[in-house]
């Protein structure tokens, strides 16, 4: 059972990593707009080329 001495700290570390990841995402505002996020993946602004044809200023 000596293997537990390695395994448990590793398990705890991985768990803490997940927790830290969640707290970071919360802090960086990723939970502020849950509605909008799912639509933003459909935006093509970051693509170069023909998608950029709009932009006629009046």
């Amino acid at each position: 059972m000596d293997v537990l001495i390695y395994l448990i700290p590793i398990a705890l570390f991985l768990g803490l990593l997940g927790l830290a990841g969640f707290l970071w995402s919360l802090k960086s505002g990723q939970f502020e707009d849950l509605e909008g996020a799912k639509w933003r993946i459909l935006e093509d602004d970051d693509l170069e080329g023909p998608a950029d044809k709009k932009g006629g200023e009046s």
Binding site: G15, L16, L19, F22, K54, E57
Partner: protein
């Protein structure tokens, strides 16, 4: 839209590196395409650092360099794109980041992480206890659990510690007191057990309890945050701003929070008066229906007191903002409001009432258990362990979730049917109601007047009058515009301030205005007033034809009669309590077939009447919108107000309903009744659970595994029962938005 500029400095807040930040409520963001369009459009402007639309709260946050662009350009660009945007008053929005919600979420994440890891260790110990775990491994696992549990309880337990502590300090008991006692004892006992190399520790119970309760509390907070941000958007869209006249005579529009007593404010024709004050210059007519409930227009001139929320007629007014003097209607309302609010805080929530019953019984049972085992000859320590396990097994998990779980589901349903809750316990209080008192003007009726009788007015003339009315900002004109469906105003219209407007059609003069402006004999007016009591009258005169009088009055909400019939069918006692004149109230009461009505009631008398009803043992729901209703709204058992209500009344009411219909009132009562039933069922479920679990614990046969299973099972049962509200006949809560 306004002729004077807005003072943008009052709406922005400084951001990093010399930039400024502004939040706007944007009308008409409905889809992803709008979001992209707005963000792209704004980022084309020079100097924009960041423009981000929040689709959840339908708001736009912009950061920009003041040197390169201005708020005016931003709003102009938005309106070019087809969106109307209104800035938030920074003062009304202190909690922009929602710190409480984030804090609860952090506590929940920590408790969830800790709960999972401790459970992992505990399951190993439980299975090990049944087979061949060595005492060293078990102690190691217990110590590890303690290492995770202690900081977690200290961190994630803070919301409960704080609330329990403040309740105890105020000499009250709430649900958090037994929770805190349960958690603390569970952790303390486990720590001692660990030190003494015992087989059982209850770390996972303590942490799981916190996790379950935090989930309930976060959901509750989230639901309330959603309604609150929606209400804030409405406030911003109503543009609660005032045009302040500076010392140099310039007029700038500023948020209401920046207006101070002594300031001069300009009120344009057709605008709502934004402040309470005294007219210093100008002459106009004022629609006071939101304040006194009276539908007749009042003439105002220099020296007249005007109130926030009243609608200015066709003259421009300069108003000096007055501080409380102790003599006006507003002061009286404020005084009554204060006493009424104090009286209301006596209501004790169901959950706290349950806690007051629960805590002594459970703690008493634990004490009796301890004494019993001592008398039976047990040593003091095993007796104490069993006594504490009674507290842990009865641990108020289901009880702590019983009310919030139902509240989350019910307030979601209320939100869907157009009712926004102001206070958390409004659902409970709504379900008690047996009597409903309505205000008339703006509540049973719509806030805007409409044409009662078009007299001898031909359709062609009505069309002409409608077009003429387009040129006037008088409140009554909009009713004529609506009635005639006119779209094209006349080119040249001359206005006589305070009297009426005039144009020329086919060589004949067309006049629209007060009866005197169209030279109508007094006898004719008197005859009309007899026919339509409480109506406002305007007159039309075309060429040499005799003038035509048009009576206008706020009409009933279109579903008012149906809803009243439904409510009285459900056994509610209905009453009308109005500040308007007798004739107008009688007409409405007869149309709705209500026997109980009172007219010309002053704010103080409204409260007094509610007191009488209260003494008769009635639980009153007050529905009203005017300034004169505010004390009654605060003083009644529970209150609702339409979204068109004055600010003070909305703040005093427990909930606000949206839209032109009265149906949300009936829906709110129905949803709250079902919610109340679910809350009571939940309380019974947790009581039943305790009845089964406590004897086992008293007998000293509880293991940590049993505690964990029992806790999860009871929490899930309670939550599932709350969710049943949604399927049951959830379809009946119609969506009105």
């Amino acid at each position: 839209m306004n002729v004077h500029a807005r003072d943008w400095d009052a709406f922005v807040t400084p951001a990093e590196e010399g930039a400024v930040h502004m939040d706007l409520a944007v009308e008409g963001i409905t889809c992803a395409a709008c979001m992209g369009e707005i963000e792209r459009g704004l980022s084309r402007l020079p100097g924009i650092r960041k423009a981000r639309v929040n689709l959840t709260s339908q708001r736009l946050a912009v950061d920009w360099d003041t040197g390169q662009t201005g708020a005016d350009q931003i709003v102009a660009e938005l309106s070019r794109l087809g969106y109307t945007a209104h800035p938030f008053d920074p003062a009304s929005q202190k909690d922009r980041q929602d710190q409480t919600g984030k804090n609860l979420l952090r506590c929940m994440a920590v408790a969830g992480f800790a709960g999972m890891n401790i459970m992992l260790l505990s399951v190993s110990v439980w299975s090990g206890n049944a087979t061949d775990i060595t005492p060293e491994t078990r102690d190691f696992f217990h110590w590890l659990s303690a290492l995770i549990a202690l900081p977690t309880v200290a961190y994630s337990g803070r919301p409960f510690f704080k609330s329990a502590f403040s309740a105890l300090r105020a000499g009250r008991l709430n649900m958090d007191v037994p929770i805190v006692i349960g958690v603390t004892l569970a952790v303390g006992l486990s720590l001692i057990q660990t030190m003494q190399h015992q087989h059982h520790a209850y770390f996972e119970s303590a942490v799981m309890l916190l996790f379950f309760l935090l989930v309930g509390r976060y959901l509750d907070h989230n639901m309330r945050g959603r309604t609150r941000s929606f209400a804030e958007n409405i406030a911003a869209l109503k543009a609660e701003v005032a045009a302040r006249i500076g010392a140099d005579g310039t007029v700038r529009e500023v948020p209401l929070s920046k207006i101070e007593p002594g300031d001069m404010v300009l009120v344009m024709a057709g605008d709502r008066v934004p402040v309470d004050g005294v007219v210093v210059d100008g002459r106009s007519e004022i629609d006071q229906s939101l304040v006194t409930g009276e539908t007749i227009l009042h003439p105002v001139e220099k020296g007249t007191q005007v109130y926030a929320g009243t609608l200015n007629g066709d003259g421009t007014l300069k108003v000096r903002v007055s501080a409380a003097t102790g003599a006006t209607l507003l002061d009286e309302v404020n005084r009554l409001l204060e006493t009424a609010t104090q009286a209301k805080s006596l209501y004790v929530r169901l959950a706290d009432r349950a806690a007051q019953l629960y805590a002594p019984i459970v703690h008493g049972a634990a004490a009796v258990t301890f004494a019993g085992w001592m008398l039976a000859g047990a040593d003091w320590q095993p007796a104490l362990v069993i006594a504490i396990s009674v507290l842990i097994i009865t641990c108020p998990c289901a009880l702590g979730l019983a009310v919030p779980a139902v509240q989350v589901v019910a307030s979601g349903q209320l939100f869907k049917s157009g009712v926004l809750l102001n206070s958390g316990d409004a659902i409970e209080r709504l379900s008690d109601v047996d009597t409903i008192v309505f205000d008339k003007t703006g509540t049973l009726t719509t806030a805007e007047p409409c044409l009662l009788d078009n007299g001898q007015l031909s359709d062609e003339l009505l069309a002409l009058v409608g077009r003429l009315a387009l040129s006037s900002r008088h409140p009554l004109s909009s009713a004529l515009v609506k009635e005639s469906g006119a779209l094209r105003p006349f080119g040249s219209v001359s206005e006589t301030p305070g009297a009426g407007i005039e144009t020329t059609v086919d060589g004949w003069a067309l006049r629209l205005g007060g009866p005197a402006f169209c030279s109508v004999p007094d006898a004719e007016i008197a005859a009309l007033m007899k026919k339509h009591p409480g109506a406002s009258v305007i007159a039309v005169k075309y060429g040499t034809e005799p003038a035509v009088l048009l009576p206008l009055r706020q009409s009933l909400r279109q579903d008012a009669a149906a809803v009243m019939a439904e409510l009285s069918g459900l056994g509610y006692q209905l009453e009308i309590l109005s500040g308007d004149r007798e004739g107008a109230v009688r007409a409405v009461a007869e149309e709705l077939e209500l026997a109980n009505w009172r007219a010309e009631v002053k704010p103080g008398e409204k409260i007094a009447h509610l007191e009488t009803l209260k003494r008769q043992g009635r639980k009153v729901l007050m529905v009203g919108d005017g300034l004169n209703d505010a004390p009654a709204l605060a003083g009644s058992h529970v209150s609702l107000s339409p979204v068109t209500a004055v600010h003070l009344s909305q703040a005093a009411a427990d909930a606000v309903f949206l839209g032109d219909k009265l149906q949300p009132v009936a829906n709110a009562l129905q949803i709250s009744r079902r919610a109340r039933r679910a809350i009571e069922q939940n309380l019974w479920i947790s009581a039943l659970y305790n009845v089964v679990a406590v004897p086992i614990a008293v007998a000293g046969m509880v293991t940590p595994l049993m505690a964990a299973v029992a806790m999860s099972a009871s929490s899930i049962a309670v939550t599932a029962n709350a969710l049943r509200l949604r399927w049951g006949d959830g379809g009946s809560a119609r969506s009105e938005l």
